[in-house]
Amino acid sequence: MSSSKDNLPDKPDRVSVSRRDFLKTAGVGSLATAVTAAGAAEAEAQAGPRVVGPGDVPVALTVNGKRVDLRIEPRVTLLDALRNRADLTGNKRVCDRGSCGACTMIVDGRTVYACSTLAIDVQGKQIRTVEGLASSGSLNAVQQAFCDVDALMCGFCTPGFIVAATALLERTPNPTSEQIRRGLDGNICRCGTFVRIMEATVAAAAKGVRRV
């Protein structure tokens, strides 16, 4: 699905895709989406359609280990549900269409663009946001390294980068620089902090990221 940022390098069955490669193959991507949608329709035809909405419906999310109960329209994205209804504003909305990474969250261990994921679709899954990475007040290795080497300026892209780098290191504890680049290519920083994000990610990998 378009919401998946599945470009993490440790999945042998997938070719890692940089943002720019992805752009080159965007036409193919939309085709793939159409195919998936058709598959889903078939599955639905067998199970019988389930209609929700268009008004508010109950949605229960598990965010950073805590249950969050909301009543929202089914069209509300995961990002907006958390930012506008649960006051979890750490992850940012920047492009709102899956091209900048500022909204990156981890859902069941995989990074997703929360702006392009419906909240209703991730019920029952473990959702982790930038707020959920520090354990009992102490920064995780990625957060600490970002602070140490000044891998942030305005900081608006930072939550997305922190989540993406954390996910990368949880799955690939000793990444090569190429793997770091690929793993973070889905994120954009306008202030130009990339040099130090690379430094910070290398430093965090050396320390090791412990899952909280």
Partner: protein, 734 residues
């Protein structure tokens, strides 16, 4: 801040160094600083990496609703009617308003027309679509060429498509060309880019009776409050503007703008706090851009490489009714020169100041020409620039940077134009130089010291991501002899003393002296109270290492906290302001670039950048370096990726998003080396803008050196590289 919205880069030619007034010795920067110039971690880093930092976009107020604007889809049209009835009745709608009247003209795609507010963002979007606006489309102009055509339609029914801009003439042009052994004649250009602040423009407005509190993502809280008051017709004392954190501005965020005013009005109408943040498309269309620049230039040079004459006809567009000036020729000394500029208007959103307004354009137009001239007389580009650069001065260090940089970069390995290596990948090096003004004044500050030793510094400046909060903390801590953890910096609020908007790289030079002076005043007041306890006179007391003690005898003193206990019930509370001698203006820099170009695909990869940059007294090494990295990466985007594309037929932006409006990602970043020339004797000078000026020119010159083909326009997209190579094969680029 006149340069902010005009895009007029100052200093077409470098100015003689401004004298640095001697500060009152009492306030002078310390000779042996404990913190200044060291690598101090950003104070608000932990808040930003955990998501705790609240940006305007993150402000959620009790009962808050959401605003959404309705904008013209046409580049040029007359509004026939605006029907708000259906939107008014839409679910969840709490307020609607028309911003323009029927009969009014819209002059660009995205021109604001109306607005709605509803209880959820989704419903506000729905309701905005139910506002019925009838337009009578009018012919438009979307490119400079269209606007300049003989029978061009007008961008505005009552206004011309062009305006005569600056006209400058110095020396004797004819004699200059007579003296020249070679003349290069060509047209150079740069394109329009948008700021793409990751936090889009917008505000949260809340009324309490006739008092307005506005959280605005802005580079000038006080300036914003003034404009809210003026535009809404309320006293400025009734307006409070808050910007605790902001997600980038780059010159585009000095005012509440239409969306801020609409937000305030919707909040009044709905009697509820309103959040109105623009979406990415609106951000591209209506929050500013860097104007285009074109110049048809004739320039002469002697056989031994002395510039003799420059004759340039320039033009550019800043959109619908906005000018597009830039310095030309840039930096180098053409003794005889003429420049005639024309501003061109098209149906597109207006330009705003963008990181070093005017300079990247003027620099590109001049620096590509410089390499062409150097090749004509067969002189190495570095040597050629040294021959024609202004003489050395504290704010004009080019000659030294060229020499030192060339050594460090390995310039001697540069081959003449055209990489002779076999195969499709060609490598090349390029160089470019820049200048900037900077300098600051006007900031006021307040320091409180309580009897428990707590220190609070308040200043109505704002932190754009440049590190201003950290800088305030460092200067106060340095002055008070405390660790940074003992000082609380409060900024980004009009409740704090006035500080100017953050533009033109003036913030560090405005704020640092104000904090220094106010902190020393606070110390004076503290010493007056503590000296008697130490059995000495106040002038014999110093604050260092977290202690207040007798000068020269650290044992005769008190720990900071114990000293402050003597304040009892009457804390220290002092005001102060910027003073001369602790900051100055004028910076110079030189950058080198190495690239590879695939001549089969036209793809340019940057290998290395070296930046030589002066910046006066460095306050925080970490954040100063980050500014330089950031400036260079912004310029890589300008050179290789971003481009605001308007469809010539529909007049609409083709790429108002972040997938087709390209920006560099991790994989596009080269090795970047920075040499910061610390010049503490010059005081603090801003560094936000200068490093972004010359990178693109150095890259373009490196591409030329690699391929032998001259690309005289930005961006260096593959198709243009290929076209230049074709042209060169046909013998056309010399």
């Amino acid at each position: 801040m006149s340069e902010q919205n005009t895009g007029r880069g100052r200093g077409a030619a470098p100015q003689p160094p401004p004298p640095i007034p001697t500060p009152d010795p009492k306030y002078a920067w310390p000779a042996k600083p404990a913190l200044l110039g060291t690598a101090v971690k950003r104070i608000d880093g932990p808040d930003k990496v955990t998501g705790r930092a609240r940006y305007t976009y993150d402000i959620n107020r009790p009962g808050m609703i959401y605003g959404r604007m309705v904008r013209s889809p046409y580049p040029h049209a007359k509004i026939v009617s605006i029907d708000l009835a259906a939107a008014e009745k839409a679910p969840g709608v709490r307020a609607v308003l028309a911003w323009k009247e029927p009969g009014a003209e819209v002059v660009y795609q995205g021109d604001p027309v109306a607005a709605v507010a509803a209880d959820t963002e989704e419903r506000a979007r729905d309701a905005a679509q139910m506002v019925r606006v009838r337009y009578e489309p009018l012919p438009h102009v979307s490119t400079e060429a269209q606007a300049l055509a003989a029978d061009a339609p007008k961008w505005h029914s009552t206004q011309e498509n062009t305006r005569a801009g600056v006209r400058q003439e110095t020396g004797d042009l004819e004699a200059g060309f007579k003296e020249a052994a070679h003349v290069v004649e060509a047209t150079y250009s740069t394109h329009v880019i948008t700021h793409v602040c990751l936090e889009t423009h917008g505000a949260v407005c809340e009324w309490d009776g006739d008092q307005l509190t506005a959280w605005v993502t802005t580079q000038g809280v006080h300036q914003c409050a003034q404009q809210f008051a003026q535009s809404l017709g309320i006293p400025q004392s009734n307006v409070r503007v808050i910007t605790q954190y902001m997600g980038g501005g780059f010159g585009s965020k000095f005012a509440p703008d239409v969306q801020g005013l609409i937000c305030a009005r919707l909040a009044k109408l709905a009697n509820a706090p309103v959040k109105l943040m623009l979406d990415r498309k609106e951000e591209h269309l209506d929050t500013g851009n860097r104007p285009s620049a074109f110049a048809q230039i004739r320039a002469g040079v002697t056989n031994d490489g002395k510039l003799t004459a420059f004759d340039g006809r320039s033009w550019g567009t800043g959109g619908a009714g906005a000018n597009a000036n830039f310095p030309l020729p840039y930096l180098y000394q053409f003794p005889n020169r003429r420049r005639v500029h024309t501003d061109v208007y098209i149906n597109a959103g207006q330009q705003r100041a963008m990181r070093a307004p005017g300079h990247p354009q003027g620099c590109f137009l001049t620096e590509i020409l410089m390499d062409e001239l150097a090749d004509r007389v067969k002189i190495d580009p570095v040597e050629f620039r040294i021959k024609n650069a202004p003489p050395k001065a504290p704010n004009q260090m080019w000659v030294e940077y060229f020499q030192q940089g060339a050594r460090q970069f390995g310039w001697e390995k540069r081959h003449p134009t055209g990489d002779p290596a076999p195969g499709p990948i060609k490598a090349g090096m390029g160089v470019s130089a820049h200048l900037w003004g900077g300098g600051g004044r006007g900031t006021q500050a307040h320091v409180d010291i309580s009897s428990d030793g707590a220190v609070v510094v308040r200043c109505g400046t704002q932190d754009l991501g440049t590190g201003t909060r950290t800088l305030v903390t460092i200067v106060a801590a340095e002055t008070l002899g405390l660790p940074t953890s003992a000082v609380k910096a409060e900024i980004g609020d009009t409740n704090y003393p006035f500080s100017p908007g953050s533009g033109g790289s003036t913030t560090a030079a405005s704020v640092s002296p104000a904090i220094r002076i106010t902190s020393i005043k606070a110390l004076d007041a503290l010493f007056a109270r503590v000296a008697p306890v130490l059995g000495t006179a106040p002038e014999n007391v110093v604050a260092e290492g977290g202690r207040i003690h007798v000068k020269g005898d650290p044992t005769k003193g008190l720990a900071w906290k114990d000293a402050c206990k003597h304040l009892g019930t009457e804390p220290i509370s002092v005001d102060g302001q910027w003073g001369e001698g602790l900051s100055s203006s004028g910076t110079s820099g030189v950058q080198f670039a190495e690239v590879t170009v695939d001549i089969e695909t036209g793809v340019v990869r940057i290998k290395r950048i070296l930046a030589m940059q002066d910046c006066g007294l460095i306050v925080d090494k970490l954040t100063a370096e980050s500014q330089v990295y950031g400036g260079i990466i912004a310029a890589i985007n300008f050179a290789l990726f971003e481009d605001r594309l308007l469809d010539r037929v529909t007049g609409q932006m083709v790429n108002p998003n972040m997938e087709w409006y390209l920006l560099a990602g991790m994989s596009d970043i080269p090795t970047i080396d920075i040499v910061l020339n610390n010049m503490p004797e010059r005081g603090v000078i801003g560094i936000g803008e200068p490093p972004t000026v010359s990178t693109a020119s150095a890259i373009a010159n490196a591409v030329r050196n690699a391929t032998g083909a001259t690309i005289r326009s930005l961006p260096l997209h593959p198709h243009k590289v290929l076209a230049a190579l074709e042209q060169q094969k046909a013998g056309g680029t010399q």
